[in-house]
Structures are given as structure tokens and as C-alpha cells.
Symmetry: C2
């Protein structure tokens, strides 16, 4: 299968996206892959497979590679006397801003480029954790209690310590702190406000059971990964997550009951259906007293959570063959014609 | 003030957008205006002011005009031996799909073009009426009761007739029907499903009081229009709305108490703040037994609801001078560098 991996982006998770792309290059070696890099200035470059190394980007060598622009149906490469249209299905692998906030989705929709990844609506409801809470409420799903703080309207928090402080709209634990008591709060807020003007405060539930489940819909059917119980310390900081994004070895299935697995799948369905079609996502759940709570939606998980699937390449191919159709309104000028003729013009 | 009016779009409201743009050309005659048309194939054209007539587009004469492409910071016009960058602040006047669904917002954000109009998140919560309901619930605002139907999971409705049937994601009354009893339901659903695969059913409240209020935030302060009580029949059909979009005469203030006006403004604030900054929007409210219900958010109202403002041009200028800043993450390669050096590479 031909597939273009789109990665990079003007995002705090820019480096993570590079690591993800390099990992998928290995993992999808049976595919006919091409690579498009979006740099921090929002320019696109076509990266030859042999140049898919972290150092290419950290040394800005990508700037010597062919620059691409978006046109209807393709990324366009201009040669001296000709142009090449790159028209493959795109895998949106830009983590964080640009990729997960709906921007890249809108861009690819507008230019009629087929892609694997969350659509605009789905991006908005997963990128900003506040809207994920709204989604939970609307769909009758439990999630962790929370309070919002915002830079301009400061107020006191009422949750009991310890709490976890998160920028509303970042992944990969960037700007996240665990706050044990009030004396640590201001510093944690300062850190989080570096990244977002809205902050989410949640109770820190010590020793909570955490389970990750990935999946997608292909040919009208849900396909689920194994359930993983992530081995972690208090929480993954950025550096650990970074390493996490290069995972490619399949992991062991969590030792859970069939009943819990089916509860997790049912919760996954509630999140996914009528929202995330076209994307392979990973949901991170907490289980508290037998009850499933949604913690986070990763609409573009690190290295596409390849390590959770038995047949990752086959699954991605099935997903690529059943992407949502973007029905575009057809325009006519009936009213203008009828008004013009009424005016005798 | 220099301002570029962006209009058209691949939308069922394409013609309405043309009418809106022509109306604003007259209404903003004190501005230094330029006009960019987005056609149904998503190509952009620069339209000379004297060609801003409906017939230019219905006869496809725009195709003879300069074609533009998006580059970082501008719409680019290629001349024989040079290029011109069109860098003015843009007024997003594309009604319906493209303009109000977050696509154009994302495009302008991505290419760092300043614009008046709803941002991506705000677009998602106003374009799809289902998500407007979620917004109401999250913000503790009342709205009309509703049920959702979708093309793939048909079910019976439980609301009492008469009901109003609406495609979830269209404005301008397109595809909307009032259904007096069950015998009329199937036809109304067929009409609505022509436009959207999700349908909203609401009770039709006969003789409900309806009030429209527009506003925006400029320099940190909310600015409100007068409150209008729209004179209408059962509801405005497309043709009447179409005419409505060319309104430019200031209307009379609704005869309401100061108390109701302040209630409407308080509801408007709840919708607007932390969501619609950068946009001039119109909210349509119902008042039932003294209680304010949000009916609809118009994030790009027809002809920008100019007829509700005493100083429309001055207001737009103030809004343009206080648009949200799009803070873009700066990228460094700290982790890649540190990992490379740890590996001795």
C-alpha cells in the first residue's frame, strides 16, 4: 500500500512526531511509504526514506529537500520544468498542535486529500481536555472530577490535595505536575500556564488502575487492540513519554477479566462512534471501584500504538480503505438567476 | 482601514455569501476593501470591486480574474514577472460549510493570516447544533429540548407534535421543516437527510418570542448590538432568508424591558467568552415564560448583522484591532540532541 506519513508541525510535540515517524518507517516496511515533514514555519518538505533520521531535522538538513505546496488533491512538488503531484493517502502523524487540534484535518479536507486521522470535530473534542469532559457528559460517560482555571479569571481550587495540574490542550505530559499541597500549587500553575491559558485540575488518584485501549472502525466494524496496563511511575514525564513514542515491540495483554475488557470496549465505542471515524485512536481509562472512567483520548497516539496490535500493518490498510467521504455541497446559482430575471437583468 | 472580504465557499449557502459580500461592500464604503472569492472547487480569486455583482459569479466570470494561492502570511497573486502578496486582515464571510465549520479558520490560522471570524473550536460548537446543545449544558444555559436522529440508527421520536426538523449542521433554514403530525415526518426527514446525516428534532413552540442579539469583544470589552425581535412567519424559509442577507437598513430596537435585555446580554456573554473571541456573532434566543433559551449561534451572521449596530464600521475596526494572538509553539531539538549525544552520534 502507498502511504504518505505527514509529521513534524509547529508543536511542543514536534520531536515526538519525528520519533513516531521513524518508528513507523520500520514498522510499515511492507508499505510503499513516503514522508512529508511540516516544519515549524509551516513549510512542507518531501523527505527521502534514507534521510528519515532525527539528525536530518535537528540539523535543518530538510531545508535542502524538495519543498511542497498544497493544491487541490495533492502536495505539489515543483521541478525545474515540470511538477509532480503527490496524491497518496496521508497518515496524519503530527502530534499536538497542528495535527491534533483540527488544523491539519481542515487543511487536508479543504484540499481534498484522503487521510487517516481525526476529523476537525473529533480533534476539537480530544485536543482540549475541557471539551473531552463535555463529550463525556453528553455521552453519559464517567470521567475524573475536575476544575478549570484560566489565566484571566483566577480563583481558588476546591479539590482536595494531591491534585494533578494540566494545561487544557497538550498531550505527552507536557506542563503537567502533581501537586501534593497548596505550597506547590503556584509553581505548578506557572509551569502549566507556559503552555496554555486554560488549566485543568483533577484529583490525583494514587494507585489508580490505568488501562489503554486502541482501536478504529474499518468496513463498518470496530477493531480493538489488546488492553495494556501501562507500567509507569507516578506519571510519565516528557522524557519517558518521548522514549515511549518509539515503541515497536508488541506488549503483553493486561491480566483483566473478560467483563472489564468488554466494559472498556463499550466505553471506547461511546467515544469513537459518530466522531472519530477515519482515525485510529487510543483511549486511556482509569478503573476506580470497578467503574470505568475516561482519562484521555489520544487521537494520534505515539507511533500509532502499533505495539498494541497483532496485525498493525494490515489494520492500517483496512482503515485506509474505509475512510469517511467528505461530501462537498454542490453550488448552483438558482436564486441569483431567479432574482436577476425578476429584475429584468 | 484595509480589509479583505473572503466569501463564497463550497456550501449550500454559497449564494447567500455572495449577497452578504455585496451588501458589505456598500455598508463599508469608508474602508479600503478588497474581495477574495472561494469557488466551489476551493480555488481563490481576487475580484475587483466593480465586479462585485451576483452575475459575475453566476456566469463564472470570476474564472477570468487573478487566481490566488495561500502562502505563509498572505494570499499570493502571481503575475507574469512578479508576485503580489495580499496581506490585509480578512473578514471571513463564508456562510455555512467551509466558513462556519472551522475549515477556513484552520486554513487562515495555519497560514498566519489575521482574520475576523470564529476560530476552529468556536466553529465546531456553533456549526453543528448538537454541539451547541453540549455547550449550553456545559455552561449551564437553557436551550430547547431536542432529540437526535441519524441516518444509520433510525429510531422513533418521543417529542410531541408539532416538531421542527433540522439538519444538524446547516444554517439559513436549509432543509428545515415544521412537522404537524406523524404523517408528515418521513418526508421532512428525507428532506433533512439530503443535507446532513444527523438530524435534530425540537418541539415547535408556536408563538414563541424570539430575540436576536449580536455582539463582539473589542479591547477586552463586550460590545452589544440592539436587540431585534425578528418579524417573521412560522419560520424564515431559504428564499426569505436570502433576501434577509442583503439587509442594510438599521432596524428598530425591540420593545423589551431593561431586565430582559440584561438577561439576554448575560446569556450572550456565556456563549461568547473563552470561545468566540475574534468574531462578531449573532445569537438567536427564545423567551418562554420569562426564561431565556439559546436557539442558535450564528458565528458569521448574514451581512454581519450590520443592521443591528449603530456604528457598524467603527465596531468592525475596533474588533480588527483586537484579534486573538495565535501563539505558535517554538520548536527546539533538545531531546534529539541529548539522545544523539548519549548515543555518541
Amino acid at each position: 500500500m502507498k502511504l504518505t506519513i505527514l509529521f513534524g508541525g509547529a508543536s511542543f510535540e514536534h520531536e515526538i512526531s519525528i520519533v513516531s515517524a521513524i518508528t513507523l518507517k520500520e514498522k510499515l516496511s511492507s508499505f510503499d511509504l513516503s514522508f512529508i515533514f511540516c516544519d515549524q514555519d509551516h513549510s512542507f518538505y518531501l523527505i527521502p526514506a534514507q534521510k528519515m533520521k532525527a539528525i536530518t531535522f535537528s540539523k535543518a538538513e530538510h531545508k535542502k529537500m524538495p519543498k511542497l505546496s498544497l493544491v487541490n488533491g495533492a502536495f505539489l512538488e515543483k521541478k525545474m520544468f515540470s511538477t509532480i503531484e503527490h496524491k497518496n493517502t496521508v497518515l496524519n502523524l503530527i502530534h499536538g498542535a497542528d495535527g491534533e487540534d483540527g488544523t491539519v484535518a481542515a487543511l487536508l479536507d479543504f484540499f481534498s486529500i484522503r487521510y487517516i486521522g481525526p476529523r476537525v470535530n473529533a480533534s476539537v473534542f480530544s485536543y482540549d481536555k475541557r471539551y473531552t469532559k463535555w463529550l463525556c457528559e453528553a455521552k453519559g460517560m464517567k470521567s475524573v472530577a475536575y476544575e478549570m482555571l484560566s489565566l484571566h479569571e483566577h480563583k481558588n481550587i476546591t479539590l482536595e490535595y494531591p491534585v494533578i495540574v494540566k494545561p487544557a490542550s497538550l498531550g505527552s505530559s507536557i506542563g503537567v505536575s502533581i501537586v501534593k499541597d497548596e505550597s506547590e500549587l503556584d509553581y505548578a500553575l506557572d509551569v502549566a500556564y507556559e503552555y496554555d491559558k486554560s488549566i485543568l485540575i483533577e484529583p490525583f488518584i494514587k494507585g489508580v488502575k490505568e488501562y489503554n485501549l486502541a482501536g478504529y472502525m474499518a468496513n463498518g466494524k470496530m477493531v480493538y487492540s489488546i488492553v495494556e496496563e501501562p507500567q509507569k511511575e507516578e506519571f510519565l514525564d516528557f522524557e519517558k513519554k518521548y522514549m515511549d513514542f518509539s515503541r515497536s515491540e508488541q506488549v503483553l495483554k493486561a491480566d483483566i477479566s473478560a467483563e472489564l475488557e468488554s466494559k472498556l470496549r463499550a466505553s471506547f465505542d461511546k467515544v469513537y462512534k459518530n466522531m472519530f471515524e477515519g482515525a485510529l485512536i487510543r483511549c486511556d481509562f482509569f478503573v476506580v471501584k470497578g467503574e470505568v472512567l475516561l482519562n484521555e483520548i489520544n487521537p494520534i497516539p505515539g507511533s500509532m500504538a502499533n505495539y498494541l496490535f497483532e496485525d498493525f500493518a494490515g489494520g492500517l490498510e483496512a482503515l485506509a480503505s474505509s475512510l469517511p467521504h467528505n461530501k462537498r455541497a454542490s453550488v448552483n446559482y438558482d436564486y441569483i438567476h431567479s432574482i436577476s430575471s425578476a429584475k429584468g437583468k
